[in-house]
Assembly symmetry: C2
Homo-oligomer: 153 residues x 2
């Protein structure tokens, strides 16, 4: 190894971090891009519903009537966000609201017949969306990726 190589190595050792922060390689940045891509794929398949709206309908279909807050925690939305989502679904006649008989603080949310029809029609399409989102990966890679992604939650 020459003296110049030693000098180079020394300089690199002194400042390994300062000069090479690569935004494009940070997990947060790529996570944001991957999420953007998924939303775009979703919109291409389901134009008249957003992913959060779909999530709300799918979860209501799964668990039946629940309170707005409870639904929010099931689909990872805070109270303010879930309220907006439910308001818009209600305006379109896909869900209906009612007051909890015992606990007067709670606002119960449920699918309407139309909402139930809608989500049942959409679930097969949602499977395609998942498939297309994961299309760049092999079956084995999908399994690995989903396992690790779930660990980050």
């Amino acid at each position: 190894m020459s003296g110049e190589d030693n000098l180079l190595k020394l300089v690199e050792a002194e400042e390994p971090d300062e000069n090479d922060y690569r935004l494009q390689e940070q997990v947060g940045f790529i996570l944001r891009k991957a999420h953007q891509r998924h939303v775009s794929i979703f919109a291409a398949h389901i134009a008249d519903l957003t992913p959060p709206q779909f999530a709300a309908l799918a979860k209501l279909h799964d668990v039946g009537e629940t309170s707005q807050n409870q639904l929010g925690s099931l689909i990872a939305m805070d109270a303010a966000t879930v309220k907006g989502v439910i308001d818009r679904l209600k305006a379109r006649g896909l869900v209906e609201l009612s007051k909890h008989e015992v606990d007067k603080r709670r606002l119960l949310v449920n699918l309407t017949a139309e909402g139930r029809d809608a989500i049942e029609q959409l679930i097969p399409i949602a499977r395609e969306i998942t498939e297309e989102t994961l299309a760049p990966l092999s079956a084995k890679e999908v399994a690995t990726f989903m396992r690790l992604l779930a660990k980050l939650t």
Copy 2:
């Protein structure tokens, strides 16, 4: 095996999908949650800047003066979004705008001295944010995860 078991199996075979759409296992849903978690970690370390604002500053620090649109494509933001981000950074004195001498359509963006100081202070913290986001994974898992995540972009 009883006749009832056969019937059950037949019904299941006919509709393998209808009855078991699990929102919590869909890549889009988990991606959204993982992104939310990252943003929350980011906010805990850097309270006075959002991830998109940080991305803009970091990229400007990297490439120097660029047009607003060019910056947007470098950090994966459409024109409308990047405008809002830059407007807010400008209002805080972290970036400055100027007109392109030749191409009068372009609006050039550059760091101010204050913006340069800020991003250089923040980069080490950003490394910690990346580390904390990936903390649930081992070093080997991180490498695998980042490789697969990048494939989805």
